[in-house]
């Protein structure tokens, strides 16, 4: 799973978000390192919807502008959990090997 995809799913993990909300959440989570552009975001959302990992939650009109909210599907939640566990195991292995005296952190 690409990092942008992982971060988008993470942004939706604790509740639905609209497009701009996802962009700012992803920037927050990555501490400003990943700034999604609209084209990249909507290519990823199109793909995630086709794969059944996210779905449209609801639509709102704010200031005459359409906001479409997306949410994680159960399948999306499982995929994200599996990917997070994999990354966590890798990170733990790296830390353990870098600091053999300290043991697992």
């Amino acid at each position: 799973m690409q990092e942008a995809t992982f971060l988008i799913l993470t942004a939706l993990a604790d509740g639905s978000q609209h497009g701009y909300g996802i962009i700012s959440e992803v920037a927050d989570i990555s501490e400003g390192r990943v700034r999604l552009r609209a084209g990249t975001l909507y290519t990823a959302l199109d793909r995630l919807r086709a794969d059944g990992l996210i779905d449209v939650d609801r639509e709102e009109i704010v200031d005459n502008r359409l906001r479409r909210y997306y949410r994680l599907t159960p399948a999306g939640g499982r995929r994200l959990a599996a990917e997070a566990a994999r990354l966590q195991a890798n990170a733990r292995a790296a830390m353990t090997r870098l600091n053999p005296g300290l043991g697992a952190i």
Partner: protein, 244 residues
């Protein structure tokens, strides 16, 4: 502006409104490049996001924004936004194959003169200095016409191959199961023809650049076929058409 008179302020507000309207129109022109189904559902949403992420006072889309939108539009139009990574790489390789085939065509066109003169020199060398001049001329003419026919066939083959690569790249990106089978068969035929050509001595006469390029094309084709046949690629070709 130091003069904050009411008149000046209202002018700057309307100025800002017109520049944001201009920015919105420019974004809409870029979003117009997306496929119709996406535009119908998502134009307003994307425009809202673009305007929300625009800098204060921005008057036109930045180069990076335009490139990002155009790339997204191209990926969606080619069906690549939803295909597995293996298929995406295979399709990219196929476009690369078309490009390599263009290189083959160009080197062929550039080396027509040297192919002609080297075959002519080979004929003169083969008949030797004591042959009758009339017979040598006749032989040279017939060899030259054979060479011309071969060159025309090679050019036609290269043009056909470019078209085939582009078609298979496009159709595989769309998830056509038929195109996948077709690409595999085409690659097998291409490989057989190339190897047969080498066996018949193409490698001796053809320019080195053409040999390198056609070998590269073959390697690209084999790599693309392997990617198309990988486990991750299968679901993309077996799901119902409505899901695409």
């Amino acid at each position: 502006m130091t003069d904050w008179s009411p008149g000046g302020d209202s002018f700057s507000i309307s100025d800002r409104a017109s520049s944001s309207a201009r920015l919105e129109r420019a974004y809409r022109r870029l979003v117009a490049c997306y496929p119709r189904s996406f535009r119908r559902e998502s134009t307003e949403e994307v425009i809202a996001v673009l305007l929300a992420t625009a800098r204060e006072g921005q008057r036109r889309p930045s180069v990076a924004e335009a490139a990002d939108l155009l790339r997204g539009a191209a990926r969606m139009r080619l069906g690549l936004s939803r295909c597995p990574r293996t298929v995406l790489h295979a399709v990219r390789l196929m476009y690369l194959g078309a490009l390599a085939e263009v290189v083959v065509l160009v080197t062929l066109l550039l080396s027509i003169g040297s192919i002609r003169s080297s075959t002519r020199a080979a004929v003169i060398h083969a008949v030797g200095p004591h042959a009758a001049p009339a017979a040598t001329r006749q032989l040279l003419a017939s060899v030259a016409s054979t060479v011309n026919v071969t060159i025309v066939i090679d050019i036609a083959f290269a043009l056909f191959a470019i078209a085939a690569w582009l078609f298979f790249a496009w159709a595989n990106g769309k998830g056509s199961a038929l195109a996948r089978v077709g690409a595999i068969i085409a690659c097998a035929i291409y490989g057989a023809l190339t190897i047969q050509g080498y066996a018949q001595g193409d490698a001796k006469y053809a320019p080195v650049a053409a040999i390198v390029a056609s070998s590269a094309v073959l390697v690209i084709g084999i790599a693309a076929v392997i990617l198309l046949l990988m486990k991750q690629s299968w679901p993309y070709y077996t799901r119902p058409a409505t899901a695409r």
